[in-house]
């Protein structure tokens, strides 16, 4: 009976005792397992202790990043503009330094580090990765090396490391275009690929160095190294080689750059030369400049504030960020617009008494020449003599809409898109723009100011250079480009047609531009002397301060920084253009100053050693 129940009915007491049996069994199994576990830890921690202690303390295997070698930068003739030189740096690994303060004091005594060096180091130290080597001094001299080497055994955690450091052999000549590399800052740190930048301290900050950062940087490699307890590398176990950054060949020509740099001679200004056929930037100078090498190892705050606070703004890249009234340099384009839209013919003349008045308006618009240029003047002479009255009249008749569209096709009003950083777009006003910005309609008088490249209108030297290059190309605008080639890659610049202007109209304007230099009454006729080739160009003087009605421009009365800017745009040879140049010099009043800089740049490009024009047609033949 009981047996029967046991089999077919639940028996709580039997189940409870069954569980107790299993419970003791499970505790036994658990105990055995824990004994095995303790045995395992005993084996590792007691029997194998020596071995693992050695592993841990003496032979730490590190995976070390091997930073790639940064790509070099060459000019068009293969001359180095940015290189990597080996420099000895003193680095500290804070985790291995027992007393940081006394170590720093010792090093200060040895090397005469400034308080500022120490401050910079502490900032870097505060955000270093564990066991990262933080440089306290980069570029040790032989003497400093010797001093430290003697004391090194007393300084745990201090090491001398050889590093490749960026160097710019031409100091300040290319600062604004090549830019420079500098310490990776926190904002950059967040945006970059940390793995690929492990072991890299510097990143392109400006110019070409920044624009082509990803190509110049390369790909990080890695190596497994055995190090001792002080982090000294004992041997390299294996290595994945880094892929070096790509070398860049630029369109820049050292000789033209130097000619422009020397001719500007530290005055506030910009000079740009463009290869008219390719859009390649042959030279791009902004002065005054600064030594790019200062930034590579971290610029001292004294040096930096000197640069930042200088009234001449050496850090300001005038070529791309300087926005100037293009002044009379726009006249050839406006003349072309007038001819193209049929507003004028080459024969149309305008009365020029030295001033202009709109119908039903009492306001006088002055010509820069008080007495006027001639009784009646046509478009060619107006360009040659830079007559304002003719262009007041022309721009009034064209109207702002046509002017805007025509000028925009030459690249005014928006950045050229050159392969450099922080380019600005200037300002090409329109009715829309006026309404948006000032919530006002466009007034006809404002069109007159645009007619002489003043008023609201602003342009960067880069825009002026690419516009005049488009003039040289009979209306084909090519996006300017500093990079010529990168390994086997050659970038193809964007090209676009401006307006389909008839050949006869082109001839009128180009002839007039030639006569600006080579005509009897040209505003830049001084350039024609001793010129082995013909130049086409246009001068301009840009007003810095507005001159009130009836007032006379008196340069003596104006402070030196309120005097007119001198401008020149041009191309040469006039009949078969190769080079287009734009030069702006601030506050020097006379456009001849800019013209002479441009001439020197053209000479450098176009003349051989004997001062004779290079036969480009023949060279092109050889090139195929």
């Amino acid at each position: 009976m009981w047996q029967h129940d046991r089999r077919y009915m639940k028996d709580p007491i039997a189940e409870a005792s069954l569980f107790q049996g299993r419970a003791f069994t499970s505790l036994l199994i658990m105990a055995i397992c824990f004994v095995v576990i303790i045995g395992r830890y005993f084996y590792l921690q007691v029997i194998q202790y020596q071995r693992y202690q050695t592993e841990s303390d003496k032979n730490r295997v590190h995976v070390q990043s091997v930073p790639p070698k940064r790509g070099l930068i060459f000019d068009r003739k293969g001359r180095l503009l940015a290189e990597n030189i080996s420099a000895q740096s003193l680095v500290l690994v804070s985790e291995r330094i027992p007393d940081m303060q006394s170590t720093i004091e010792q090093l200060q005594g040895l090397l005469g580090l400034s308080d500022e060096d120490v401050e910079t180091f502490k900032v870097r130290l505060s955000r270093h990765r564990p066991f990262e080597e933080v440089p306290i001094k980069v570029g040790l001299s032989e003497e400093e090396m010797a001093k430290v080497a003697v004391e090194l055994h007393n300084l745990p955690g201090v090491e001398i490391r050889a590093q490749l450091v960026r160097h710019y052999p031409y100091d300040d000549m290319f600062a604004h275009v090549i830019g420079y590399v500098g310490r990776i800052n926190e904002r950059e740190q967040q945006n970059l690929d940390e793995e690929n930048y492990a072991g890299t301290y510097n990143i392109g900050k400006l110019g070409i160095e920044r624009y082509y950062e990803s190509q110049l940087h390369g790909t990080v490699g890695a190596q497994n190294v055995e190090t001792d307890v002080r982090g000294k590398i004992l041997r390299v176990l294996d290595q994945i080689d880094p892929i070096p950054g790509k070398d860049l060949t630029l369109n820049l020509d050292l000789d033209i750059q130097k000619a422009a740099f020397d001719a500007l001679d530290g005055r506030r200004g910009s000079a740009i030369a463009i290869d008219t056929r390719t859009g390649g930037v042959l030279a791009i100078v902004s002065t005054p400049s600064y030594d790019s090498n200062l930034f590579v190892n971290g610029i001292s705050s004294k040096n930096y504030s000197a640069l930042r606070d200088s009234p001449d703004l050496p850090l300001f890249n005038r070529s791309l960020q300087g926005q100037y009234p293009p002044a009379s340099t726009v006249k050839p384009i406006l003349g072309l617009a007038g001819l193209h839209f049929g507003t004028i013919t080459p024969q149309t003349t305008v009365r020029d008494p030295g001033w202009y008045q709109l119908p039903n308006d009492t306001r006088f618009y002055r010509d820069w020449k008080r007495e006027g240029h001639a009784a009646r003047i046509n478009v060619a002479d107006a360009i040659i003599q830079s007559c304002d009255v003719f262009f007041y009249d022309l721009s009034y008749k064209l109207g702002i809409d046509k002017i805007h569209d025509f000028m925009a096709s030459f690249g005014y009003g928006e950045p050229t898109g050159v392969d450099l950083t922080s380019e600005r777009g200037g300002l090409l006003p329109s009715k829309d723009w006026k309404l948006r910005t000032y919530n006002q309609p466009w007034f006809p008088g404002e069109t007159l100011n645009i007619g002489i490249g003043q008023g609201y209108m602003l342009a960067t030297p880069m825009q002026m250079a690419s516009a005049v290059s488009a003039l040289a190309n009979n209306g084909e605008w090519i996006q300017p480009r500093v990079l010529q080639k990168m390994d086997d890659f050659t970038p193809m610049p964007k090209r676009r047609k401006t307006f389909e202007v008839s050949q006869s109209n082109w001839a009128v304007v180009e002839e007039a531009m030639r006569d600006v230099i080579h005509g009897q009454r040209g505003t830049a006729r001084a350039l024609a002397r001793q010129s082995a080739y013909e130049i086409a160009g246009k001068t301009g003087t840009a007003q810095v301060v507005g001159i009130a009605q009836g007032e006379k421009y008196d340069s003596k009365a104006l402070a030196s920084r309120q005097r007119d800017h001198a401008l020149f745009v041009g191309f040469a040879p006039a009949d078969a253009p190769r080079i287009a140049v734009a030069v702006v010099i601030e506050n020097v009043e006379h456009s001849s100053e800019s013209a002479s800089v441009a001439k020197k740049m053209m000479d450098t490009y176009l003349l051989d050693k004997n001062g004779e024009l290079i036969n480009f047609a023949a060279l092109d033949g050889i090139d195929g």
Partner: protein, 380 residues
């Protein structure tokens, strides 16, 4: 009779009847709570060191502890018989959620584990760890024990369905834990020894089949690594070599708190999660490891004792399964980090950083406390 005798002999069982009734009213088991708190506190110290002395991490973990202990407290208030009656429905719901994860789960770290409902994200596989012992115990407690073959097979099915679904995510560690908690119920229900031996034999046959047809490459690599970590020093062997170095270099007394170079140097990956025992072993040595194991052992003994004192078969089986699962956590984690078990993602209970698994773990202890306090109420 035997049960009530045991209650009287229990350590910390309450000598003052006033105190005893207070704990009862709160549905808390003071001995268990005391042990859990000691390990949690110790865990925070180790975590502080393992996380590179990050106060932030410790604060976060402290917050997780608050949540987990609160969850434990609430679970402890639930009537055990109600748990039993609800468990089949919760089980079905859990399986449906696991299916939902496979089809619409959120991918994290190469595996689908998360389910998003509204703004709320959770891991059904974690919840399954709790449901499994309840469901299996519910089924077995209504059958005649020891179970016959048909009952054994059905119980196996109950355990394997969720386990396979979790394995598919893929999450081998959790799958093993979930399956194990079901199997433990069977074991405590008196599964015949011949079945246990047969299961061992089956596993031996199944292993090669799993290897060639079921396991993912990364899972295979982990197993291979176990036999020869040096074969891939910088790859899959890296973790295990570094953790063994950390453990071994700790010696008997350890390098001292915050003095472990292996984790400070970032040699030890996952040092604050699954591999945290290596940090503990490095800094507190073999003595620290033994102390920790001792505390774990006391928890296990207490859990089994609660099971033995329980009044219903359901409660016994649940208590036994939960305690054994906790044991598996400790065993697998400490085994894998020291290189005698393959690396599967199992945290060290109460010490590893992590929110979800901590909460389910503590809810499990909540069930234990519910069982513990309920049976004493009956004993009065």
């Amino acid at each position: 009779m035997a049960n009530s005798d045991f209650v009287r002999q229990m350590p910390l069982g309450g000598h003052a009847s006033l105190q005893k009734s207070l704990w009862h009213r709160l549905h808390l088991d003071p001995a268990l709570l005391f042990l859990l708190l000691i390990i949690s506190g110790f865990g925070l110290f180790v975590l502080y060191s393992a996380s590179g002395q990050s106060v932030e991490t410790v604060k976060r973990q402290g917050a997780f502890f608050m949540i987990a202990y609160t969850a434990m407290f609430f679970v402890a208030q639930i009537n055990v018989d109600m748990m039993r009656r609800w468990s089949p429905f919760v089980y079905v719901l859990g399986v449906l959620l696991l299916v939902a994860v496979l089809f619409g789960g959120t991918v994290g770290k190469g595996a689908q584990r998360w389910l998003q409902i509204g703004g709320f994200r959770f891991q059904p596989s974690e919840i399954m760890k709790l449901i499994m012992p309840l469901a299996t115990a519910w089924f077995l407690s209504s059958r005649i024990l020891p179970p016959r073959i048909r009952v054994v097979l059905i119980s196996l099915a109950i355990a394997m369905v969720p386990a396979v679904l979790i394995f598919k995510q893929p999450d081998l560690g959790t799958a093993i834990l979930v399956a194990a908690s079901g199997l433990f119920c069977l074991f405590f229900a008196g599964l015949g020894w011949r079945y246990v031996i047969a299961a061992g034999g089956l596993a031996a046959i199944a292993a090669p089949i799993m290897w060639f047809f079921v396991m993912h490459d990364y899972q295979k690599r982990r197993v291979l690594t176990l036999f020869d970590p040096e074969s891939d020093r910088l790859g899959s062997g890296w973790n295990i070599i570094q953790s063994m170095t950390a453990i071994g270099s700790g010696g008997i007394e350890g390098k001292g708190w915050l003095q472990g170079s292996q984790s400070a140097l970032n040699f030890l990956p996952e040092s604050h999660t699954d591999f945290i025992i290596a940090v503990l072993a490095e800094e507190f040595g073999l003595l620290g490891v033994i102390a920790l194991l001792l505390m774990y052992s006391l928890i296990l003994v207490r859990g089994i004792v609660i099971g033995m004192s329980a009044q219903s078969t359901f409660a016994r089986l649940v208590a036994g399964a939960i305690t054994s699962t906790f044991f598996v956590y400790v065993l697998v984690n400490m085994g894998m980090v020291s290189g005698i078990l393959p690396v599967v993602g199992v945290p060290l209970p109460l010490v590893s950083q992590g929110g979800t698994s901590l909460v389910t773990l503590m809810m499990g202890f909540g069930i234990l406390m519910a069982i513990s306090t309920e049976q004493r109420r009956l004993a009065h």
